[in-house]
């Protein structure tokens, strides 16, 4: 493994813990940036002698935020009575899936891959679509970034965007509802 390879933000955060002897405002700013960029709700960094924990309230819609301690696992597995055991920890997509389940009258655009959801082609650009936008099958509605590749996602349906289930910069899983379209 070579250390000089290009690193992602998240990985940089981890590597940053190693050499830094103390808190430094520059690094703290970088961490806050990371929190925003990656749409994380919470970030905890530990190093010899200090610990930083950052939490972002705007992402409060996520129930168990990434990195937070999950509640203890319930009852032993073997005799679990329920056919669909609830996931005790963090499961990408649970929130959006639950929300979309109530919108049965809408056409749902799911994420075709696991990655990070972006509503616009660049941080400064306008979003591809907003609530009320009209889309056709080939309209690009968002970008899902996976392994630094920006994948443009098309609507594959015609209608009006009435729901957006995920926030910009949020990680999404395969099959997770992204948009609700009324045709």
């Amino acid at each position: 493994m070579s250390a000089d390879k290009e690193e992602t933000g998240a990985r940089r955060a981890r590597n940053a813990q190693r050499p830094a002897p103390s808190v430094n405002m520059e690094e703290l700013r970088e961490l806050i940036g990371l929190l925003r960029e990656n749409g994380l709700a919470e970030l905890e960094l530990e190093n010899e002698g200090f610990r930083v924990r950052l939490r972002r309230e705007s992402a409060a819609s996520e129930p168990a935020s990434h990195g937070a301690a999950p509640p203890p696992a319930p009852a032993p597995a073997a005799h679990a009575p329920a056919p669909t055991p609830a996931h005790p920890g963090t499961h990408l997509g649970t929130q959006a899936t639950t929300a979309a389940a109530q919108d049965q009258d809408l056409h749902i655009i799911p994420s075709p891959i696991v990655g990070t959801f972006y509503r616009s082609p660049s941080p400064t650009a306008d979003p591809f679509v907003k609530i009320g936008s009209n889309v056709g099958p080939e309209s690009v509605v968002c970008i899902i970034e996976a392994m630094k590749l920006m994948n443009e996602i098309q609507a594959e349906a015609t209608g009006e965007v009435v729901k957006i289930y995920v926030e910009n910069g949020q990680p999404v899983e395969y099959g997770q509802p992204l948009f609700g379209i009324r045709s």
């Binding site: 493994m1 250390a3 390879k5 690193e7 992602t8 998240a10 990985r11 955060a13 981890r14 590597n15 990656n38 990434h66 301690a69 999950p70 696992a73 597995a77 073997a78 005799h79 679990a80 009575p81 329920a82 056919p83 669909t84 055991p85 609830a86 996931h87 005790p88 920890g89 963090t90 499961h91 990408l92 997509g93 891959i113 696991v114 990655g115 990070t116 996976a146 392994m147 590749l149 990680p171 899983e173 395969y174 099959g175 997770q176």
Partner: protein, 460 residues
Amino acid sequence: MAFNPRKFKKILIANRGEIACRIIWTCKEMGIKTVAVHSDVDRDSLHVRFADEAACIGPAPSAQSYLNIPAIISTAEIFNVDAIHPGYGFLAESAYFAEICDACNIKFIGPPARVIRLMGDKIEARRVMHEAGLPIVPGSPDAVTSEEEGIKLAREIGYPVIVKASAGGGGRGMRIVRSEQELGKALETASTEAAAAFNDGSVYIEKYIERPRHIEIQVLADEFGECIHLGERECSIQRRHQKLMEEAPSTVLTPEMRKTMGDAAVAACKKLGYSSAGTCEFLLDVNGNFYFMEMNTRIQVEHPVTEMVTLADIVRNQIRIAEGEPLGYTQDDLLIVGHAIECRINAENPETFAPSPGTITAFNLPGGPGVRVDTFVYSGYQVTPFYDSMIAKVIVHARTRELAIARMKRALEAMVIEGIKTTVPLHLKIMDDPRFRAGDIGTDFMEYFLAKNGKKAAAQ
């Protein structure tokens, strides 16, 4: 949140089923957080439930989920994991995947990519391990390219011979040939099968050992060149080259033979620059000669029998070694206590071996002294037809082989699985077989056993 002084804080498990659960259990004991990945049909699988974090990475077909490298790496980056444990099957022996992990600064829990690649090519593996001192079955050093070449070689070796796929595994692309007349056709069909299964039609010929035992040596090596073995596993009970049942120790290995085979495996692994857990598979003939077949560069399905008799946690050692810790054991520390047996419980018809997917309507796990069950299913779980049919492993440990057989019988009797067919009744019958009970087994055992039971059924 408990303080975790380990180097690895979080591990992604790039697998499903019982092995994903097995890895989670050890991570929990080590205070390491886990990330599960799953296909959309595996959402209700226990590995998803018991991991700290989880993400759906694709639809049911493995190529789009459990073999989908970009989706797995993307998930690893989202959750910021330190390492990836590949389990067995899927990407466990993909040198390419190991290299990608390295390039992404994520530790691949397994041997170096170079070693995986070398051992993945069966012809090259035999050559290298032979050079490193392991005896091999007489045969062609390279792929056989023409029928004439095959005939010449088979005459030198002497019939019967076996034709095998160079990229093989799981019995595909294999043919036993007893006379020269059969050779041409066998080369052709084996090559066609190999091309279909592995995208590589090259085959080689070697001496066919009649009634051999399949004996394998478990090794553990660290990244500083230390290597030990954990004794052997007897895996002769196979059907179509798929293991059904394994035990440790073998009934035929004397302490001297264990030392000879173990030391040979360790010496070869040291020369190879091996690290992590690995297994050298051997054929043992009736005269006590052993021949290296191949090396599995991963955790194996049957690892629990070794864990039971040695008290080692092999997954824990894989993780420790990947963290860069020294092995910390010497060969003299090896302890082999009692006897362990593992039965693989498959969702299959126990007579026809036809897959039996469906919903499990009732499920009872056996317990009591000396019983371990590794599984990912429960009452209400739907067994899908997308992946392999193994749903559980029942492992028992007792002071002697006889006691272990008695223990396995009562464990299998208490194992209730309703709604689907399983191989539990088959294993119960094997436990009662006089040849099995006498330890008189070889890779031909199932052929004998099925013929015997088929005849009985016809007579009734």
